[in-house]
Every structure is written in C-alpha cells, then in structure tokens.
C-alpha cells in the first residue's frame, strides 16, 4: 500500500492508517510534504534558519517576518533577518530499548519514534542541514555522524529500520556515551519513552546540554501506558523485565493515573529547569501534529 492510493491528509490524520505505509521513507516524506504543502503553516522559512538581526521595514518585505513584538513596544516595523546556517547539525537520538516495542493500539512507540525521526531528518536534509543518528538502549547501539551528503537520508533510514533492541533502558549511560560523539553544537532530538529514573535520565541530558546543544525531547508513550486499558482484569507484562502482574485496571485506574501524572510532572519540571523542550506524545496522535507542535514551540522562542 502506498500513500498515493489515498489522500495524504487522510493518511496523515490517521496514525494507524499512516503507519501501515511500510516504507519509512515514504512516511517521512509524506509528513514533511504534507506539512510544507500548506497543510500546516510555519511562521518562518527554513528549518534551521536562525535569527540574525533586525532591519527596518521597507515596502515589499514579506510581512511574515515582521517582528510584531517590537512593533507593539516601539510602534515601528522591523524585519527579522535570518542567517542560513549551513553548518547546523541535527542529532537524532532514538531509544530502541525493549520498552519502545510497546504497541497496544497496533503502533509501537519505536515505529512512531523512527517515523518522526525520519521526518525530521528529511526536513533538515532538505534544507541542507547535517543530520546524525544515534540509536541507544542501555548504551549506544549504532551511530551515524551528522552529514548532509546525498546518501545520508538513506543511511539514516536504513539504520532506523532496525528492529528494537532486546536491551533494557539505561538512558544516562547512553546519553553520556552519545554526547561524547556530538562535538558540534546543534539540535539534539531525543525520541524515547523516558522510562528510567529521572535522576539518571537528566544526568545524561545534562551531559548533552553541557556541550551547548539544544535538546528536544520527544516523550513518546503508548496510550495504555498513560491511561490504563478499559476496565477489566488484565495480566500486565513489563517488556523490559518480563515481570507480570494481574490487576483490575478499573480498580486501580485513579491511583495509577495519579502516580503517572506525578511522574510526568516531575519530568516536565526537570526539563524546564534544564531548558529542555519536551513534547509529550502518544502513539495515537497524528505525526504531523507532533511536528507542528515542535515548530510552533520553537517559533515562540523568537
């Protein structure tokens, strides 16, 4: 099945349907093309464009680049100028631990993460940015240095089509290990469920931040991980430890939600402290929305 047999916007809006597109490349391209075709507006051109300076408005300038905040303060029109950073680097850190294979609604977190990572890579490479990839679990499993050569996208896709590892998560060690290879300052996009102790998790992220990277945390969860399945007694199995336990989902739902929300809040607070952008996602959310969410957040910074 290819994305050409259906309207792209339908596929993009239905994650389950979209993920049936077997080709990762097609999915990545589909997301980006759909995004760039006006389905979602971006306030600026260029993924890796970085703000440079202000200049006065002259007639004929694109009003999309007016700095409206300045106008509100000074009642004068100024245009933003961007420098296209040809040496901008995008580092994709994808969690391939066993826990990422959770797929309660048919879409695994791993597939979701790899598709999103491929979309970001495609967008960046399209703008001639260098993109690197690190696959990690309890350590760095595979790593591609950031490049913007013509074959880089396919190399990335090939690495991303690996099956999830059987290893457990050790995010701190993996991040420390990955940070050693990410010398050039750039954007680090982490795709993980973050199931680890927050101290260890942010210890590793701090190592990445130390190298002046901008960190983007795509926190990907399965819908049933955030909110338990419907009311019935179930046997829950931990994908990484293999531990099982029987529980009545309905009976413990409130307590579980409370506990899970408390954990997410702690993650969010730590991200805020370390100036890390966290984007919570569940695998039942459309991938394009994930992309848009990031870009909107990024635009608010400028």
């Amino acid at each position: 099945m290819t994305s050409a047999t259906r309207p792209e916007h339908d596929i993009l809006a239905d994650p389950e349907l979209f993920m049936r597109v077997e080709s990762l490349e097609l999915r990545a391209r589909g997301i980006v093309e759909g995004f760039l075709n006006g389905l979602h507006r971006s306030p600026y051109v260029g993924f890796s464009a970085e703000f440079s300076a202000h200049r006065k408005y002259v007639a004929g300038d694109d009003p999309r680049h007016v700095n409206w905040k300045l106008y509100a303060r000074h009642k004068r029109l100024y245009m933003k100028e961007y420098d296209a950073e040809t040496n901008f680097r995008l580092h994709l850190l994808v969690d391939v631990s066993r826990s990422m294979s959770c797929a309660s609604l048919g879409i695994s977190k791993y597939d979701y993460a790899t598709t999103l990572a491929a979309a970001l890579a495609y967008l960046a490479l399209r703008q001639h940015d260098a993109v690197g990839l690190t696959l990690f679990a309890d350590r760095v499993i595979e790593q591609l240095p950031p490049r913007n050569k013509p074959g880089q996208f396919h190399a990335l896709l090939k690495a991303l089509t690996l099956l999830p590892s059987e290893a457990k998560s050790n995010l701190e060690y993996a991040f420390r290990q990955a940070s050693k290879t990410m010398r050039s300052r750039g954007l680090v996009a982490v795709f993980s469920d973050l199931f680890d102790e927050p101290e260890r998790l942010f210890g590793g992220l701090a190592e990445i931040k130390f190298h002046r990277h901008e960190v983007l945390l795509f926190h990907i969860l399965d819908p049933w991980e955030r909110r338990l399945p419907p009311d019935e007694t179930l046997r829950f199995r931990d994908l990484e430890s293999g531990v099982e336990m029987v529980a009545d989902a309905g009976a413990i739902r409130d307590a579980y939600n409370q506990r899970f929300a408390s954990w997410e809040t702690s993650i969010e607070d730590r991200c805020r402290q370390q100036r890390i952008t966290r984007i919570p996602l569940t695998t039942d959310a459309p991938l394009v929305d994930a992309l848009v969410t990031y870009l909107v957040q990024r635009a608010q910074l400028y």
Binding site: S104, D193, D222, D238, L239, S241, V246, A247, I252
Partner: protein
C-alpha cells in the same frame, strides 16, 4: 436452641458454591505488554492488600449469608424452661364453708371439692411443693404433722384429703379475700423461672367482695366452679334464735326470738319448729308450727330451773342443705346471790350511815337493765350485833363497811367463810382503830391502815386494770365515767404481796385491790362506801361499780356470760364453756343464702387476672402439640431475616469494590 425444620439445615452445605466460585472459576486475564509496569507495581502494592482483605471478607459474608438462610428456613426457637420440681408452687384453696355441705347431684359439694383437689395434686410433678388451705372465714392450712412450717408434697396432701372425706365442711362463712391473700403469701418469689399457680375450688357463694391488692399477673388463678344445683325447693334455714334475756332468775318467764328465712317463701304446709333445751340431765322440748314466715317469731319457753340451758331450734325442711336447719342458743338461769352487809359504822342505821348508800346500790338495777328481782339478796347487820356472822355460810358474799371501826366481829369465822369459798368485800374508809379491825386487816396482810383526807384536790381514780372483768362495763360511758369519781377521804395502807392492785388513785395509793384466801376471794376498797368519803355514791359509776365488785366475788363479773360466735372448720357448731363464759357457735347465716357468682364475675370482683390463653403445657403436651405451621412467639426468624438482609447489603457494597 431447637429447630422446627431441622432438615433444612442441610441447605448450609450450599456454602460450597461461593467457595468453588471464588477458588476455581477465576477467569484468565489477557496479557497486556507495557513499556514499564513500575507505576503499576507501586499502586498495586497498596491496592492488593486491600483487595485481598475484601476478597476474603466477601467470601466470608456470602458463606455466612447462606448459613443464615439455611438456619432461617430451619426456624430455630428457644425452648421455654418448664417449671421444675424445685420451682414454683401449687396453692390449692378448698372452700370449707357451711354452703359446701349442700348436696348437688347426689354428692356433697365438699366431697366433690376434695376430689377436684386430689386430681390437681396428682398432676403436680413429683417433688414440686403444693400447699392446701381449707378456708371459710379464715384459712386452715394442711401441714406436715412433724414439721409444722414445712409444706407438704402433693402425695402427702392427697393422703390427708382422703382422711377429710369422712369429715364434713365447717359451718363457717366465706372470706374469699382472706383465702386469696393467704394463697398469695404462699406463692414463692417470682424470678421468671418459677410458675406459681393458685387453684380455687369453691361454690362461688356470694359474699362481700373486696378486691385483692395488686394480684401478680404471672400467678394464674384457676377457679373450679362446683356449680351446685339450684334445687327445686327453696332453702329454708333458721337465721337467728336468740333468747329475749340470756340471764334469768329461777321461775322467770323466758321467750325465744326465732328468724326463719327466706321470707319470700309461701309455705304450702305449716312449717314445723322443734325447740330442745337441756341442762345437766334435765331436758325440755316443745314444738310449734309456723303458718307463714314473719320477721321474727316469739316462742315462750317453759319455766327453767337454775343452771346453764343449752338450746337448739330445728326447722323441719326438705331442702338440700341440712346444716342450717338448726341453730343453737343458751340461757343462764341464776338464783339471787345472798349478800351480807356488816356495817362497821358506829352510827349505823341512821340516815347518815354510809351503809345505806350501799344497800340502795345493791338493790337497784344498773342503767340499761331492769330487774324483776335484783341479782342480790341483801341482809344488813351492824358490827354491834353479836350474831352478825350467824348463818354466814348461807351467804355468797360478806361486805364490811367502815373496817377501821368494826368491832365484835368474829374475825376467825369470817376468814374461815372466805377460805371455804365465800367472797369478802372490805371498805377501808373510816376513822378509828379497834382490835377487831386490826386483827382482820393484819390477818389479811393489810398494815398501817390510816385515814387520809384530801388536801384541796380530791382523790380520783387514775389507773385501773381495763382487762379485768370488774371494769368491763366502764369501757363506754353508759355506766358512768370512773375518772370523775372523787373522794375526799381515802384509806392508806401497806399490803402484803398476796394482794393485787386493780385500781389506783392519782397519788399512787391503791384504790381497789384483791387477793385470794383459800377458795375465796377478798376485795378491798380504800375508801368508805358513803358520802363521808366524798360525793362518789351520787355518781353514775357508784351503783354499777358496786354490782361489779359483788359479781366478781361470786364469779359473775362478766356482763355477757353467754357469747355467740360463728362456727368454723376447727370449731364446730354447739355450746362450750371457756373461761367462765359459754360460747354458742352456729353456722354462718350468710352461707344459707345460696347465690353464686359466675367465675368471670368473681374474677372481676376480686381483681384477679383472666386465665392465660393457653394453659402452661407440660413437656409432653408441648412436644405433642408442636406443628410446623404454628408460629411460635420465641422463634428467631425475625432476627435471622434482619441479619440476612444486612449480609446481603454488605455483599452488594463490597462486591462493587472487589473484582476477581
């Protein structure tokens, strides 16, 4: 605890069902893989403990509910404790009044009552106490001959009742209130386990009815109504047979007043009355016929000689009650008592003589009485007369006035007269002292005799022995008031221990005292008998007091020597002498008026509870009467139903919070 449907307890085996359901048929849950179950583990750690507790609690509640349901259908009840042999008492009251002598259906009510009592006593469990009281106007309890206060067991009482068959009931009246109160006193204290019962066997003869105070509701009263036959013929009975005068002189005319009841009966044939009189070996009889019944019939009796005459009036009637056809009466025919008055006053035979007051008093009749002839035949002499004591043995009493001045009296002969049974009355007032008076007083134990005049305040009687027959007429004021008798002069003396003081002055000196001497008696009055000692001869009490003093000396101080009483179970009808009196016992007249209450009316009159709806059953009857369809008051099912409802409610609440 016992069960009406014990087989249904097997339903409790149904508790195996929830156990099996809980343990065996638990659904296999489907597997859900999550990236991490660490949060589940944290939450479940707390939750599992609660769930496990609720799980087993729910199982226990369901098992208990099934058990309660099974027990509910089995209908448990608590067996009421049966009265044991050592608890509770049967009190049987047997009517022994005169009306029980009636025959009914050929059998005397009395014997029928005894048979009813025996039957109930034989139903008493072995060892249980039973008390039987025969009652008329009082209760006569059957007691153990060896232990008077120990109640008998039923078997012993039955034996005593059989002995009573030969003996008829008494002739007394009926006092139900006394009988019921006695029965109440015989009941043992109620403590819930005891069951006292009272069985009243009677003909329910109507009497005065006074309700019993607060009859306990837990003491059943069984009334055995003997239901005597009404009878075809009216019950004719002699209600009263009373002489017009009970004390007569020889040859004095006597009449008898007779009351025959009922008055509303018209005699088809003249009613025969027979009157029998007996004194010693002498018998007299007369008969009369009554054409019709008047209020009272007066029958003249024949002349009677001296002595006590026992009389009986018998009416010839053919009714069922024979005991009330006769009535006893008594007559006392007494000769006059010979009294010798010896006046010791030197001024004797003068109008001022004190003895004249005494003479007049002896001859006159006390207030309320009339003498054709007085009770005393008086002879007066003075001490100056040498033959003063001649023929003294013919006398019953010798009175000596002005003792201090008496002279010329043969003291020895006088005292011998007393020793032989004569009576001597001495008036110690007066002046002087003679050898004869000193001898007389010293022989009698009287010393230091001297006159004492009142100093302004006259002497008066302050105390006297009210129980003594001399003073019996003075309990009222008809015969004068003794406290008002005043003396201006009294005689003080010291007396020996042989004397007994009967009355005193307010100064504490003896006023009247007596002693025995041989077979006779001596009375001493510490004053004169005339106006020299004061105005007392003119008081209303003078004459009756003199009579009483004399009658006491002849043994006739009791103004009512013949007394009538109602016969009872222990005192049959008839005449007997007791303490110088003649007691005439007759059957209670009220027992002859045969009107009976109904048992219900009787209970209402005496405020007795209605009988229990169900008699107290014995163990055997209770078992025989047990029926699964009957609802017993001591069943537990209401409580079990409430418990089951509570358990089901708990189950509903808990089941919603526990999932398997």
């Amino acid at each position: 605890m016992q069960f009406i449907q014990p087989l249904l307890l097997l339903g409790a085996a149904a508790i195996a069902a929830p156990i099996l359901l809980h343990l065996l048929f638990r659904p296999k849950p489907r597997i859900v893989e999550l990236g991490s179950i660490q949060f589940l583990q944290e939450v479940l750690q707390q939750h599992t403990r609660r769930q496990r507790l609720r799980h087993w609690t729910l199982l226990a509640i369901r098992c208990l509910a099934l058990i309660v349901l099974a027990v509910l259908f089995a209908r448990p009840f608590i067996q009421q404790p049966q009265p044991s042999g050592a608890s509770g008492r049967l009190v049987v009251l047997i009517d022994a009044s005169a009306s029980m002598a009636r025959a009914s259906s050929g059998e005397m009510l009395w014997r029928r009552a005894l048979r009813e009592a025996e039957q109930r006593l034989q139903e008493v469990p072995a060892g249980q106490e039973a008390v039987v009281g025969l009652f008329d106007q009082e209760v006569h309890a059957l007691r153990n001959n060896e232990q008077v206060d120990s109640p008998l067991v039923a078997a012993e009482i039955v034996a005593q009742l059989q002995d009573l068959r030969a003996r008829g009931p008494g002739l007394g009246g009926t006092d139900y209130l006394a009988a019921l109160r006695w029965a109440l006193g015989q009941c043992q204290p109620s403590d819930g386990a005891r069951s006292n019962r009272v069985c009243l066997i009677t003909d329910l003869q109507q009497t005065s009815a006074i309700a019993v105070d607060a009859w306990p509701k837990d003491i059943d009263v069984e009334i055995v109504d003997l239901k005597p036959d009404a009878g075809d013929a009216p019950n004719l009975f002699v209600r009263e047979a009373v002489p017009a005068k009970h004390v007569l002189r020889p040859g004095e005319a006597a009449s008898l007043l007779i009351d025959v009841q009922p008055k509303n009966v018209s005699l088809k044939t003249p009613l025969s009355l027979r009157i029998e009189l007996q004194s010693g070996g002498e018998r007299k009889q007369l008969e009369t016929k009554l054409e019709h019944l008047e209020d009272r019939h007066q029958v003249e009796l024949p002349a009677l000689g001296p002595g006590v005459w026992h009389g009986e009036v018998v009416v010839e009637s053919a009714d069922a009650a024979e005991s009330d056809d006769a009535r006893h009466f008594a007559l006392l025919v007494e000769p006059r008592y010979k009294v010798l008055l010896i006046d010791g006053d030197l001024k004797a035979a003068t109008p001022a003589s004190d003895a004249q007051f005494l003479e007049a008093a002896v001859r006159l009749a006390p207030a309320g009485q009339e003498f054709e002839q007085g009770p005393f035949l008086l002879t007066t002499k003075t001490t100056a007369q040498p033959d003063a004591l001649e023929g003294v043995d013919q006398q019953q009493v010798v009175m000596v006035t002005n003792v201090p001045s008496v002279h010329g009296v043969n003291v020895g002969s006088l005292l011998d007269f007393v020793r032989r049974g004569g009576g001597l009355m001495l008036f110690l007032g007066g002046d002087g002292s003679t050898a004869a008076s000193e001898l007389l007083t010293s022989q009698l134990g009287i010393s230091q005799l001297r006159s004492r005049a009142a100093d302004g305040v006259p002497f008066q009687l302050a105390t006297w022995d009210a129980e003594h027959p001399i003073f019996a007429p003075f309990q009222g004021s008809e015969q004068g008031v003794l406290e008002r008798v005043a003396f201006t002069q009294i005689a003080e003396s010291r007396v020996s221990e042989d004397w007994r003081t009967l009355a005193t002055f307010q100064s504490g000196h003896a006023a009247i005292f007596e002693r025995t001497l041989g077979k006779g008696r001596v009375l001493a009055v510490a004053t004169g008998c005339g106006t020299q000692s004061g105005n007392w001869p003119r008081t209303a009490a003078y004459l009756p007091l003199v009579h009483q003093l004399l009658l006491h000396l002849v043994g006739r101080a009791d103004p009512r020597p013949i007394r009538y009483m109602t016969a009872d179970f222990d005192h049959p009808a008839g005449i007997r002498e007791s303490g110088g009196r003649w007691l005439v016992a007759n059957a209670a007249a009220s027992e002859s008026e045969h009107q009976a209450w109904t048992p219900l009316a009787f209970r209402q009159k005496f405020a007795l509870p209605l009988p229990s709806l169900q008699p107290v059953p014995s163990t055997s009857t209770m078992a025989a009467q047990s029926s699964p369809d009957r609802l017993r008051p001591n069943e537990w099912w209401p409580w079990l139903a409430v418990a089951l409802l509570c358990l089901l409610t708990l189950d509903t609440i808990l089941a919603n919070r526990v999932r398997f």
